[in-house]
Structure formats: structure tokens, C-alpha cells
Amino acid sequence: MVVDKVIDKIKFSLFSPEMVRKISAAKISVPDTYNEDGYPIDGGLVDQRLGVIDPGLRCKTCGGKIRSCSGHFGHIELVRPVIHPEFAKSIFVLLKATCQSCHRVLVSKKQIDDFKAALKDEEIAEQMLASIKKLSKCPYCEAKQQDIKLEKPTTFYRGDKMLLPTEVREVLAAIPNDDLKLLGVDPEYSRPEWMVLTVLLVPPVTVRPSITLETGERSEDDLTHKLVDIMRINQRLEANINAGAPQLIIEDLWELLQYHVTTYFNNETTGIPPARHRSGRPLKTLSQRLKGKEGRFRYNLSGKRVNFSARTVISPDPNISINEVGVPLQIAQELTVPVKVTQWNLEECKKMIMRTEYPLVNYIIRPDGKRKKATEKSREELSTTLEPGCIVERQLQDGDIVLFNRQPSLHRISIMCHNVRVLPGRSFRLNLAVCPPYNADFDGDEMNLHVPQTEEARVEADLLMKVQDQIISPRHGRAIIKGQEDHVSGAYFLTRKSAEFIKGEACKILSIAGIYELPKPDRGGKYSGRLLFSQLLPKDFNLSYVSKLCREKVCKKENCEDDGYVVIKNGRLLSGAIESKGFESELIEKIVRDYGSDAAREFIDNATRMSLYVISKQGFSVNLTNYTIPEEGRKQVEEIVENAKREVDSLVVQYKNKTLARLPGRTLRETLEERIMMTLSKARNNCEDIVENHLGPENTSILMARIGSRGSILNAIQMAAMLGQQAVRGKRISRGYKGRPLIHFRRGDLGAEAKGFVTSSFRDGLNPKEYFFHSMGGRESLVNTAIRTARSGYMQRRLINALQDLVVFSDTTVRDAGGAIVEFVYGGDGNDPKKITKGGEVMTGPERE
């Protein structure tokens, strides 16, 4: 692209009344819109010189028709001037900065010269305004200055006397040009008296089109309503003035005119009631059109709506690949892919048009750009007249390339490229392994789908955004598309030492994963789970690691009692069981690195399916008795609680006697709190062994915590033994009544229970006091998440706006939209974060074909 002209700066200035009259195509003189015949009234607010919105009519200014004329401005002559509400602040500043008698700026000549000598032109105005502050006397005419007040939004006072807009305008008009320049106003473009309106610019009708309801009734735009109001009051004011009405009545009407003009610009002006529609709905005036999330900028300009997209609820489907997305038939029939008709596919396309059931052709675009709908009737004709150069829009089919997205789109993997699988039902289906990048769950989440319409877009999506190429997250270089929860539990049950299956079960497990070759049995006549799992691994896969299942300080390797030593030789899992970290970091990440993303996709698809089959065959569940600790254990927990309470009490006594040894940098009180918190959290942690021993290693909670598939030991402790200390702002609970959180405690009680230590477990249930403390802690975390999302969302917006057009070029430099270099080597080393492994070396494995 050749750039002839570069914008250096943009200057904003005020419209003068002359300018408004000059660009105006019509003076509006009638406070009405259409006459009885439904024709625009001449001189009304939809005067035909302002453009046209009705088909068939012609613009009286340019002769254009509905689309060819973009409309022309008009104007209203205001009988009395009114303050432009958005400039009230600027007017206030100018009134305060100038003399009330001679209208010179209230800064002495000497000081102005000093400023001019010391400062740049742009900085003078700021310094001038700062130095005015409280001058009670004009340095030029010595006149005493009265206090100027602005009563929001548009009323000015000098001393106790209210200034009428006419007076304000006179004062502003009297400020000399040279003094305005010092105040940062360029009088050639913006005289301050123009901030007080004497004529009002009326936007073209095309900006405020009316809509015709089914009843044939016309419904005008809010802006038109507002302009009608302004016109009405303006006329009444004129009539009253001409009739010589008393000043009081005139001023009332004048004030009303000011109100209407103020709300015309901004109907959310503070200090005045919003103007309402007859129905009671506040009118949407100029500011409301532009401002905020639903305004012109954020809604229409930076967020446009698109065609060829769909949105519905999502639900899980472990049987489709991570690369796929299940699309409901109804959606597939609505979305289309354009197919260019050539001499080579002409016959095929004709057959496609003639089809009577899905997949059909929805539209045919003729070479002249005309769009024809393919219907049962038109099919025959359309297919016979089909010729190369036409475009056939066929319905979405299996294998089509689409983009799938879940909001909020916080990172690149919030939008990925999937292959279509048309399925019955009404929801989008997705593999559970792709939930983490989208942060999706199935409690009613909805997702969006987009169909790329050009070959280039499809190729780009497939090459850059395909799910299988996003298995490693660029954020941390670890797998983000991976088995979770039951996938991991299932893999553990499949690969632990005791897992073995008879031939029939083995065949089922393998065939579920798409493997139809049965290996030789390795446990007498039976098949070990490890053997079956091994069938998923590449044949030359070698690996050994000690997993977190091992509870010894130093693993006994081959003799590990916890299945913690994992050895894979030539694609055979010889020892050890799979847990979460091993599944994702050792297996998935290594397969991506060494065998490429095709192998990794296959592994994730098949391993998760196999695991789910195993875990659902064997059953994996929870009931209340799983969390019942026998009497012996309960005694132990009680003892821990009693000891902790006793210790706390003794700390409190020491505190009261002042014999407590102060911690460095802490007050005595802080020391006490810290010691108590430590004591109580130690008490809860001491329950770990009791809970683990009494619930047993096969307890589902304990098991899941150990495998890493869901939850932690703490969850089991809280369910079976005790909740422990509840906290607000990281401290024991202290808010509520004077000296005590609840009236059920004595004032100044510093003991464990009075400050939110909960000794009950979820299984036993909480007493009312404990329940209250727990709710206080729960409230805090709820509020925090709400605040965090709001804050991080706004930060994300600002970051994206600042970074959106930075691009990494092929020479690894980063450049902005103007081609300016931002970084010489991307990231300081030119490496793709997706391809950096744990050790810092760069991945060299096979790329996808």
C-alpha cells in the first residue's frame, strides 16, 4: 500500500453558530414529524431536506434515495441561549480564571512572562490555571472578584446571584483572544461563548430512523422525541416572550428548555431526573448511544456480529476425538460451506443440488452475485442452469473445519480448530480432554462455532489452531489437553499391580480403545492391566520415573510397595501405576515431543476411553459410611482437639500475664494470634494420619487424593475429622459485635471456639455457631472470586488493546502495525514457548504433516 498522507494530528474544536447555520440544510420550525397522510412535514423534524428513510421518497437536498443519501444536518434557532451541559466544567474554569470586570485572565503580566520564559507552550495553560486559585483582586483593573460557583449540571452563581445563560455568554464573549491562548483555548477555532448554545444542530433523519410497527403505527427514535420536546418548549418560550409574559414564567420555561437540551446530550446527567418515554423507560440520548459496553464503540465498532456462526449448550462425549466437535443436525443444516463450481465438479454439484435429504444445498450464488435459495421447487431449474463460476452453499458435513470458542476468550486456546461430527441432539459435544483450555464444564455452559468461508481461512485454522497442536500450553510449556478426574483414576485402576482381566474383558477393553490385536496373556491365562495399557504406547517408547505414589523417602525402585516406580521398556509398562502427574507430564508430554501431535492425539483419545471403560466397569463411588471414623479414631481426634484447646488457653493466659515471649517484629497481640493459628493448623494437620489410617487406602477420597485425580487429603480431613480454623482476611474471625464475633461468647474471649475454630466435621454437621463462622469464611472466598474476575477482565482488556497488532515476523523480530520494531528477538531467545521443555531445551520432535 502506498501511503501518500500521514495523519500528524487531529484537532477538536467547537462549532460556531454561523458554522451550524452554514452546514444546516433546513431550519426546523415545526415541533412535529409526519402529517395525517404520513408525509414528512416541511420544516418538521423529519423534513425531507434532512435525508430520507422511506423507500420511494427522494432527498430534497441532494436528490438521493434511501441508501444513496446519507442525510444532512438541520438546525433549531433557540429563542434563548442554553448552556451546553458537556462544557459546563470548561465554562466554570474560564469564569473563574478571568476578571469579572475587565475579563482579563487573573494572572499578572510579570508571572505570565515568567511562565512564557520557563515553559513550553503546552505547559503554560496548566500552570496558569494552577496559579490562579485564590486571587480576590484583578491584577489589571483591581476589581474585587466574587466567588463563582457551579451548581451541577448547568447553573452558575456569581456570589449569591444566579447567572442566566445570556449573562454567561456575554462574559465569555468578552474574554480577549490573547488571554484565551494563555488558557489553552485556540480562539480561532473555539470561542468560549460557543459553549453556550444559540442554535442547536439537528442530526440527519438517517441517524434517528423511525420504525413502523405491525399495526402501521410509526414509532420515532428517542432522539427525535427529544428534539420534538426541545422544539415545543422553544416555541412556547417564544410565544410567551412575544406576549410579554412575566419574567418568572419566562425563566421557568427557559429552565425547562435547558433541561431538555441537557438530557438531549446526556440522559444520565447527575443531579437531574432522566427524561422518560411514555412507557416509563428512560430515553437513550446522544451520550447513551456512544458510551459503555453497549455503546457504539464497544458494541458496534470493536465487537461486530458475524454470519456463519452458531451457539448452543455444550455436553460431554468421550467417544469423539479431541479434534472433533459434535454439531447438532439442526445447526449443520443451517450453516453452510461455499463450494466453487468448476468444470470438474459441475456434475457433482448438480447432484448435490438435486438431493432430497441432508446434506442439502441451501443457496446458489450466480456468477453475477445474485443469491438464489434452493427449494424443492427451484432445485430442478437451479441445477440445470448451474455453470462454472457459480458458488454452491452446501450444508455442514462430517470432517468440515470449524472454529470452536468459549468466552471469556482469555488466551489463544480459547478458540481452537475442530473437525465437525454431525450428531443427533441439540447440544455441541466435546471431548472431556479439551475442557481445560476452554475452562468449560457442563453445568449449562454455552459455546460458539464459526465456519471459515475461504480455503485460506480453513488452511490457516487447520495449520495453526488445530486442537492436537495445542496439547502443550504456551503459558507453561506443560500439557493442557489431558485426561482428568475419572480418566486418571481409571488409568490407575488399570495399571496398578493387582489389575488383571480374563480374555473376554481384555478384548472389550482393547477394542474400546480401537485395538483389535490381542497380545499374549502375561499372567497365566489372564491379562494384566499394564499389558493392556501398554498397547496404547508407541512400540519404541522407553521411560522410567518415580511417581508421587511412592511414600518412601528414597524409592525402593523395583520393590516399591506403592506401585510408585514406573518403568516402560519398548512400549511395555513393566512396573508402576499411572497417576495424574505421570499421565500428563511423563506420558502425554513425552509422546508429543518424541512422536508428534498425531500420536499424542491418538494416545489421549484411546487412553481416556480405555480408562473410562475400566472405571465404569468396576464402579467408583462414595457413601456416607466411607467417611465414618470408628470410635477409636474419634477418640484420637477429640484428644487432638482437647490438646489444641488447652494449648490455646495456656497461650492466652501467658498473654494476659504478659509472660508470652514476643516474636521479632510483632506486638504481643500479634504474637498470640500467630502462635494460636500455628497451634490450631497443626491440630488439623495431625488429623491426617488418623483419617488416612481409619478410612483406609481404598477409600475413594483418599485414593483420588493420592492419585491426584480429584481433591486433597485436606478435603477428606474436613469431611471425616474436623473443619479447622475459619478465617476472614487471613486472620481468626474477630468482626461482629463489640469484643466478640457472636453474642454467644464472652467479650474479649480469645479462646479457640470464640474465634472461629470449628471442631465438627462435615459428616457430623456443624453447630449453629460453627455454621456461622464457616459462612463468614465462605462469603469471603465468594466475594474474592467475583472481584478477581472483574479486575482481571478489565486488565485483560487493556492488555489486549495495547498488544493486539504486535506480530512476530519470520526473522523473530516483533513489530507493530506501523512496522516499528518492538523487540529484536521474540522473548529474548526467539523460541516458541510451546516447544520449550522442562530443562529449557527446544523441542525437535516431528512436526505434523
Binding site: D811, T813, R815, G818, G819, A820, I821, V822, F824, V825, G828, D829, N831, G840
Partner: protein
């Protein structure tokens, strides 16, 4: 006295040099840009003052980044 030494020798301050006139063309053509597309450095920057560079000169900065040594270029501006 000590100040100049400090600016030259502090371990957090990377090495600044004025890019030789003869290397200029080579750098700009390898990047395929004119000098205005380079990042800027103020002539009032302590390191630039030390080098006695003029507006329009290109400063070459050699810095040890966490992974390797990199060179950065800055155009001296007013």
C-alpha cells in the same frame, strides 16, 4: 569522578556503544526498515550522554539476557 565509573561498570547496566556509520546500512537493510522504525533512546539518557552520541546516531546495546546474549539497537532522539 565516581559517577562516570559507576555508570560504566555497574553490573545492571548493559554495554552501550555508538554503532559505527559503516555498520548502519548493513543493520537497517538486514531488518528491512528505515531508522525511524527502530526503538528510541533519549539523548538525555545517562548512557547516551556518556557516549557523546548525537541525535540520529544508533546505539548498540549488548545485554546478557537470561538465556543468551542479545544485541538491541536504539535510535537517539531529542
Amino acid at each position: 569522578m565516581g559517577l562516570a565509573d559507576f555508570r560504566l561498570s555497574h553490573f545492571l547496566v548493559p554495554k552501550h556503544d555508538v554503532l559505527a556509520k559503516s555498520r548502519r546500512e548493513e543493520l537497517l537493510s538486514s531488518l528491512g526498515v528505515d531508522e525511524n522504525k527502530l526503538p528510541k533512546i533519549k539523548i538525555t539518557d545517562p548512557q547516551v550522554k556518556l557516549l557523546d552520541a548525537k541525535v540520529g546516531d544508533i546505539i548498540k546495546i549488548t545485554r546478557k539476557d537470561p538465556t543468551r546474549e542479545n544485541t538491541y539497537y536504539r535510535l537517539v532522539v531529542k
